[in-house]
Every structure is written in C-alpha cells, then in structure tokens.
C-alpha cells in the first residue's frame, strides 16, 4: 500500500463526536483521517433539502450548547458556528389552556401563576437546586471517569476521590442527586407542583429518547441529563444551529480540515485491522485499507465491539455487558414543510409562540398513556410530540413566508409486537398529523411535504443500533462508570490502539461533544505516555 494510506489516527464515523475527536487529534499534530460511510458527514446531525428551499433536520434538530471550552479549543466560531437561542417554550393544552414561557423570569412567574401561584414560586426553587446539582456534577461530566474495575493505584485513588467528592457535596444537593437517580420524574414533580401543564412540560424532559414513562424509575435521570446541557435557567440554553444541526457538523468538518485532517465520505469501514490485540488500521467494504496505530470508533458500542472487531477476540465479560447494554430506540421523527404557521385557538397570529420548543403532551397522564402503548409494543395512538418550527428563528431554513416543522415523536418502539415499520411508516405519519390537528385545528391544510423517520430508518440510515438516538439508553446502569461497560468506560478497548468516542461513551448522548473530546484527551495522554 502507498504511503498516502498511512495516518497517525483514523476515526470511524463522521458524526459530531467523531468530528470533535478528529479535530482534537488533528490539532495536536496527528495526521488524522475521518471515514464516513454516507455521502455526507454529520451522522444524526444533518440537514437535507428534501424539496427545493426547505431544509429538513431529518434526525437531530436542536443543540444544547456545546461546552465553550470545545468551541474555543477548536475555534468553531471562526468556522461559522452560530447557535440561535430559542425564545419561548409553548405547552398547549387540549382545552384552550396553555403555558407560554420565555426569557424573562418575572413574566414567566405570572404566566405560571395563571395556573398556580405556588408553582410559579416552586419553579424558582427547583431550578436553582437543579442548577446547583448540575454545577456539582459538572466535573464528572467534563472529565474522564475513573475505572471502578481497576486495581491500579491511580484508579483506586480516583474512585476514593470521587466518593469523597460526592460525600462532600451539600446535603440538599446530594439528596436531590439521589432522587434523580432513584425516583421517577413524576415523583419529584409531585413534590413541587400542582399544575398538570407545568408538571407535564418538565416531565417531558424525563422521557426524551428513552424507554421510560414519566412515572418510571429512570425518568428522573433522563430529566437531569437534559438539564446538564444548560445552565442559564430552567428553559435555558437550547438553540437551533444556523442551517440546522447539519450546519453545525459542517462547521466541525471545517475545523477538522483546518487542523490538517482529512475526511473521506462514501467510505464504509468493514473491519478494524488488528493483530495480537494491537490495532493497525481499517479495511473498507470496497477492500481499500488505511493504516494507523490509533483507530477510533465513533459508532455505537454494539458496532464498536461486535462488528468492527470480532467478539471472539474480546473478554467474555465485556461481550456479555455489551449484549445486555440496552438500545431499544423508542423515538421517531415526522417533519413537515408548511405553507404557513399553525394557528392555536386564542393565540391566532402569534408567530412568537413557535420560536422554541412546542411541547404536545399536556399532562402526566397523557404521557403515561402514550408510554402504555410503547410497553405493549405499539406506537402511541396519541404520541408526545416535541415540535420546532425552526424557520421562525432561522429564515434561511425555508423560502420566505414558508415554514419547516420538525416533530420528535414518542413513543415509537423499535420492536413492534404486531407489525413492522415498513408497513407502519405512513400510519405513524397519520397519527402524528392527527395529534397536531387536535391542538392546532386546520394544520393538515398547511402541509406541503411530510417526511417520516421511524426508528428502523434511524438504524438503517444513521447506523444507530435499534434507532436509539443516544447510542444506548441513559439509564443509571449504563452511565458514567458503566458506559458502555464496567471497566471499559475510559475510551480504551481491549485492543491496543483501538478507542471508542461515540455517544455510547461517557458522558453520553445529545449534541454536546463531550465523548469526542474526552476520548481525544485519553488517546493523546496514552500517546505521550508511550513516547515518555
């Protein structure tokens, strides 16, 4: 093979974490290659012009702000990163009632007070407490976690340090962390709120992308995880990237190339090449081979440990853990091109209500019923929808005056008990449309185009196993010390030189870049150690 196929590092998968990882490696001076199976980079964070002038965020549709240190380290602002803040959160009820929250705390107080004056006060206490919880957990999110399975003195010390740190937190913060881990979102919310709309709005953060209902244990932790991405307030720092989330991964690709990295698309990696448990490169489905002493998988744990390498060459305990690791995608997307904005009875002609997340799921009971369908192996008859009309924030998403509406749909279980997704695709679209119609009469007449993305489509197109948007459930036994498996939570694998950096590693899913960055930190540390 020619020298041109030799690199210092190869990253498999051009999703956002793969790109962040590659950018850090390239920045440190490594000759870095990113191999992406599809014709475009971005993974689940892409923007596609499905009909002329209308930009669809097919999968991932919003961004919780990337850590500013990543933005600064990779100079992403210079490459065009632009996250447009969301203005409002709109939670309509089915009885003409609604909750419309915005950027002003005092205005929000009065809006919530329409439903309950005590809730309006509670939300301030709760959000301050959650901010303090996030602050306390920040070092855990921003650093490589310790290895609980290791006897190495440095790891034992790290575990002891962790215990000490957690024990040293203020009692109310520690208690709240315990609640998030051990309670359902609904249990916690019952303590603080009486209004259904308020409870449902917050509870929806606890189910996003996960096979839990608001009353299931586990929804507390999912809720907390969705708070970790922001700090500025309750409904704080989420935004739409200019040009959709695909606009963001384009920025990352520019950053990779600006540091001298190479990106190859239409490059489907079939296997990692390794011998005697030492990685030396990769082979594509086309037969082409590329060589590097460092190979990083940005794919999910199942692909990383059972497809890119042979399970036979890995420890049984790891393969067993990966076998048990839960994907079970439960979310779908239905995206619409619209001729005009929907109308909410009572708030006609209010364009601003759509400038953010529009949350269709007006009560805990509503969400719980939607989950009951999921438990039975059906998609929800009345799904929870997280809708974004991105064109109200970014006019470049559509032709002037037209709109694009991204709808995140829960629940749509990957495994259907009595049918399959190729049969049900259009039916799912109809159910979503009918649900929106109930809240926004006349919605159907606005539709110019409809795109339906089932969990099976997510798996087929993006490659995320079972369509799980986080590359594995955000459950306590799959997080931190255990993500993706106990002992293998530090981005290394049993094969020397072979690493993992996808959302299936700590800290986990969403567009936050943490896994890609921390994996790069580990890789560069190991390389330095070898040199030294």
């Amino acid at each position: 093979m020619s020298n041109s196929n030799n690199y210092d590092a190869i990253v498999i998968g051009g999703g956002h974490n793969g790109l962040v990882n590659a950018a850090y490696l390239a920045k440190s001076g490594l000759k870095t290659l990113v191999l992406e199976r599809r014709h475009l980079v971005g993974g689940a964070a892409i923007t596609e012009e499905l009909i002329p002038g209308f930009k669809f965020t097919t999968f991932s549709y919003a961004i919780s702000l990337m850590r500013p240190d990543i933005v600064q380290d990779l100079r992403l602002a210079d490459h065009g990163m632009m996250v447009l803040p969301l203005v409002n959160t709109f939670q309509p009820g089915l009885n003409g009632d609604y909750l419309l929250l915005g950027a002003d705390a005092d205005a929000n107080f009065h809006e919530i007070a329409r439903h309950s004056r005590e809730d309006a006060e509670s939300i301030r206490d709760l959000s301050h407490l959650i901010d303090r919880v996030c602050f306390a957990l920040k070092p855990l999110m921003d650093n490589i976690p310790p290895n609980a399975m290791s006897d190495e003195p440095v790891e034992l010390a790290a575990m002891a340090g962790l215990k000490e740190y957690m024990a040293g937190l203020e009692p109310d913060v520690r208690t709240m962390i315990d609640k998030f881990v051990n309670c359902s979102a609904a249990e916690i919310l019952e303590e603080y709120f009486e209004s259904d709309l308020v409870k449902a709005l917050i509870a929806s953060s606890g189910i996003i992308g996960s096979k839990v209902g608001p009353r299931s244990k586990g929804s507390g932790l999912v809720w907390l995880f969705h708070k970790m991405g922001e700090y500025d307030g309750i409904f704080g720092e989420w935004g739409f990237h200019k040009g959709g989330n695909g606009g963001f991964t384009e920025v990352l690709a520019k950053a990779v190339m600006s540091f001298g990295g190479t990106i190859l698309t239409d490059a489907d990696v079939e296997t990692v090449i390794y011998k005697n448990s030492v990685a030396t490169g990769v082979r594509l489905a086309s037969g082409d081979e590329y060589f590097a002493p460092t190979v990083v998988s940005a794919l999910d744990p199942r692909r990383t440990f059972t497809q890119l390498v042979s399970s036979d060459d890995l420890p049984d305990s790891l393969i067993e853990a990966i076998g048990k690791y839960k994907f079970q995608g439960t979310a779908a997307k239905v995206n619409f091109a619209l001729s005009d904005l929907p109308n909410f009875p009572g708030l006609e002609n209010r364009k601003d209500i759509y400038m953010g997340f529009t949350n269709l799921g007006p009560s805990i009971d509503y969400l719980e019923e939607a989950f009951a369908d999921c438990e039975a192996g059906r998609y929800s008859k009345k799904p929870f929808l997280d809708c974004c009309v991105q064109s109200t924030i970014d006019p470049d998403m559509t032709p002037p005056g037209k709109h694009i509406m991204s709808c995140f749909v829960m629940y749509a279980p990957y495994h259907l008990s009595e049918s399959d997704w190729d049969t049900e695709r259009e039916n799912l679209g109809d159910v979503v449309q009918a649900t929106i119609e109930e809240f926004f009469p006349g919605f159907g007449s606005l539709i110019l185009h409809r795109e339906i993305v089932t969990p099976l489509d997510i798996e087929r197109i993006v490659g995320l196993t079972e369509g799980n948007i986080f590359a594995g459930e955000l459950f306590a036994d799959q997080m931190f010390l255990n993500r993706p498996a106990p002992g293998w939570n530090q981005y290394r694998t049993p094969i020397a030189g072979y690493y993992q950096c996808g959302s299936g590693t700590h800290p986990g899913g969403c567009v936050i870049g943490g896994p890609g960055k921390l994996a790069a930190q580990q890789i560069l540390g190991d390389l330095k150690h070898e040199e030294g």
């Binding site: 500013p68 602002a77 803040p85 901010d131 602050f135 006019p395």
Partner: protein, 411 residues
C-alpha cells in the same frame, strides 16, 4: 417629557418589555424582546430594523461647504466622492477628538452629517471665523427620521422596494423612491454587517416603516433596540462616544480627552503628507505621529475562556454569560512580578454569543498593544476583584464578507 420619533406609533406596540430610555431627549427602546441575545441575532442571522432618529442631523451646502469641511474635519473631505459617505471625526486644536460621525455627500456641494451631540453653532462659528459667505449649515434633525436596516437579509428586503440600493458599494449612497417617498439610502451601518441606513422625511416615516416591515416578514425582520446594536458594534470594533471615549468639548483635563490616533483612527491620516489642508488640530496630530507621543492605543481584548471559567468555578459559581454587555470601566494590569501593576483600561465588555467568549474594547500603552500580548483584566467575582487572562487582539473581532459586499456583484 421626552419627545418621540416619527416611528414611535409603530414602535410602541412592538415593545414587549414596555421599557424606554432617553436618547438625546427622545424615547427609544433599549430592547424590544425579553431575550436580548435573540434580538441581537436578527443582526447576524436574519435582518433587523433600528430607529436612529435621535441623532443630530445637519445639512451643509453651498459652494464654500468643501472649504468649511476641509477646515473642520480631521479626515480629508475631498476623499468623499459625490454619492458616497465617509466616517469622520473632528478634533480641537490640541488634536483631541470633539466628535465622530458619518457624512453623506449627496451632491457636489451638499452634505448630510449625523452626530451624537449638537454641533450647529460650532460649525457656524468656524464658517464665520473663516469669513465663508457661500455656505449654509442647517439643523435638519427634526425633518428626517433615520432607519438602519442591518443583517444578512438587508438586501433581500430593500430590493423588494427599490432597485437603486442594489449596486451600492460599501459606503456609497443614492437617492431613491420608496412608496412614493424620496429617501436617501447609504450602504452603511453601525453593526459590522450587511446593511443600509435610510433617511426618510418625517411626514412619510410610517409609510416607509410599514413597507420595510412587510417586505421583511418572510425574512423574520425584527425591530431592535439600542442594546442589541451596541452588542453588535463591539464585535465590529466600533467605538461609542460617551462609552469608549468622551468629547474633548466638555472635558476638564486632558486625561479625559483622546486623540484620533489613540482611538485607532490613524488610518484617516495615511495620506496626510500629500494634502495641505489646514484643518483644526493638524499640527498637534502631525506632532503626535512624528514624536510617537500617543499615550494609548485602542485595541481588542479576548478574554481567555479557560481563565474566565476557572475564576468563577473556584469561587463556586458559574461564569455569567447570557445577555452580558456592560459599559463600566475595567482595569487592566501587566502580567509581571509586581502585583496589580496598572496598565490601562477596558470600556465596552461583551460576552459575544457569536464568538462564544467575552471580549472588550481596551486602551493600552503602546508596548502592550501587539496582537497576542497577555494582560490581566480585573473582573468582579462575588463582589471581589479578580484578574483573568486576556489576549490583545486587533479590531474588529468579527468581519463577515457580506459587510462590504456589493449586492449587485463586484467588489
């Protein structure tokens, strides 16, 4: 009672916050929306409309107008072609800046000037002193409203109303007709983005406002207040009188005054040796250049994110960033053995949402002004002064290509 501008009847219902402030005696909205950052992004992502009518406006005309402006303006007025605009300053005899402003040359002997403070009597006094007969200086402040249409879609909007703005080069101007109203459009602005400023006779102000808002609807046009404008101008490296410098006119001592060169405008004097204009302050400015006696240089400061975050985390709090813009003076110190070794000061401070870091406009002694020089900036952390690392940078911080683009093609 403050006065209201001609656009007020439209602005009043659009102001979600119902907060107004006083700008030169007129009611003006600091912000229209609760989310300042969202309002700011209209300038960088879609298109914004801003009422700058409280500016003082003067019409200077007559065959002696050139002679008058040659005398008053520190920058050469002859370099401002008919049909173009010029950013300029006027200084006192000691070379200290009296004011800055934008002057439009609408005809060979007709100029329109905007200024932050009144200057009618001063200009007239100079004309009298020079015994100029053929010049008229008129205060037309209350005859015109001015709208700034700024943002990536500014041309998408204005081109629906007139084709005359399309071929304007950066800092060109044209007469145009919008909704049967004679207006002056200049390819200028205070945001560092693509944009236009439009002079509109007051009696037709609302007609033009309505036309612009209607044309901009599909592009999410948004009215913006003065705070979003100021946030954008910090990124654009544009100074603001009363914040980054003060007029020499009402200063008590020279320590309160600054020269054009100290303020970063030495480019205005690039061809000084080639002209023999006898402008006010020339001798002092020439001496300053020759003897290198500037006390300061105006530079950008990029606050190091890691340092900014660390000083807050150490104190147990999160670094503030959202909607963070202020105009209080902050001290800058040398990074040396001597603690708190005072070097200079920062004025406008912004957490730039676009650049994802805090930035500031600063004055530093000449030995600290090379790009990349490290200094300490004093910020309050839980009410205590703390130093954070900052790097000197050149201004502006942000220059998109569209800022100076000619929309009709060509550069």
């Amino acid at each position: 009672m403050p006065k209201t501008t001609a656009f007020h009847p439209r602005l009043e219902p659009l102001n979600e916050t119902k907060v107004w402030k006083n700008w030169s005696g007129f009611l003006i909205a600091p912000q229209f929306k609760y989310s300042l950052t969202n309002e700011y992004y209209a300038i960088r992502s879609s298109v914004s409309l801003l009422d700058t009518s409280p500016l003082f406006k003067y019409r200077i005309s007559g065959s002696d107008s050139i002679r008058l402006l040659e005398r008053i303006m520190s920058r050469d007025i002859n370099r401002c072609r008919t049909g173009s605009a010029q950013y300029t300053v006027w200084s006192d005899e000691k070379g200290f800046v009296l004011q800055d402003g934008v002057i439009l040359r609408t005809d060979d002997f007709e100029f329109f000037l905007t200024a932050g403070e009144p200057t009618l009597r001063y200009f007239k006094a100079i004309a009298k002193e020079m015994k100029l007969e053929e010049v008229s200086v008129k205060d037309v402040s209350e005859a015109y409203g001015i709208l700034a249409l700024q943002g990536p879609h500014a041309h998408s909007v204005i081109s629906q109303l007139t084709q005359d703005a399309t071929d304007l080069k950066y800092f060109d101007l044209t007469h145009a007709n919008i909704c049967e109203t004679e207006v002056i459009i200049s390819r200028t602005g205070y945001t560092g983005d693509l944009g236009y400023e439009i002079w509109i006779p007051n009696e037709n102000a609302l007609t033009v406002w309505d036309a612009l808002m209607a044309a901009g609807e599909g592009y999410n046009i948004a009215p913006i207040g003065t705070t979003a404008l100021k946030m954008a101008r910090v990124e654009a490296g544009l100074l603001l009188m009363g914040v980054d410098f003060d007029s020499s006119r009402f200063a008590w001592v020279d320590a309160q005054r600054e020269t054009a060169i100290e303020l970063g405008w030495s480019w205005m004097f690039r061809n000084l040796e080639k002209d023999d204009r006898d402008f006010i302050g020339r001798a002092a400015i020439e001496a300053e250049i020759k003897n290198k006696t500037s006390r300061w240089k105006t530079v950008g400061l990029e606050i190091d994110w890691h340092s900014y975050e660390a000083v807050h985390l150490d104190a147990g709090i999160l670094p503030p960033k959202s909607d963070l813009y202020h105009e209080t003076t902050m001290s800058i110190y040398r990074r040396s053995e001597t603690p708190w070794d005072y070097a200079g000061y920062a004025t406008s401070f912004l957490f730039s949402s676009l650049l994802r870091k805090p930035i500031a406009i600063a004055k530093l002694p000449l030995d600290l002004t090379d790009a990349g020089t490290e200094v300490d900036l004093e910020i309050p952390v839980i009410r205590k002064p703390v130093n954070v690392l900052a790097n000197v940078s050149s201004l502006p911080f942000f220059v998109p290509e569209r800022k100076t683009a000619t929309m009709g093609g060509g550069k």
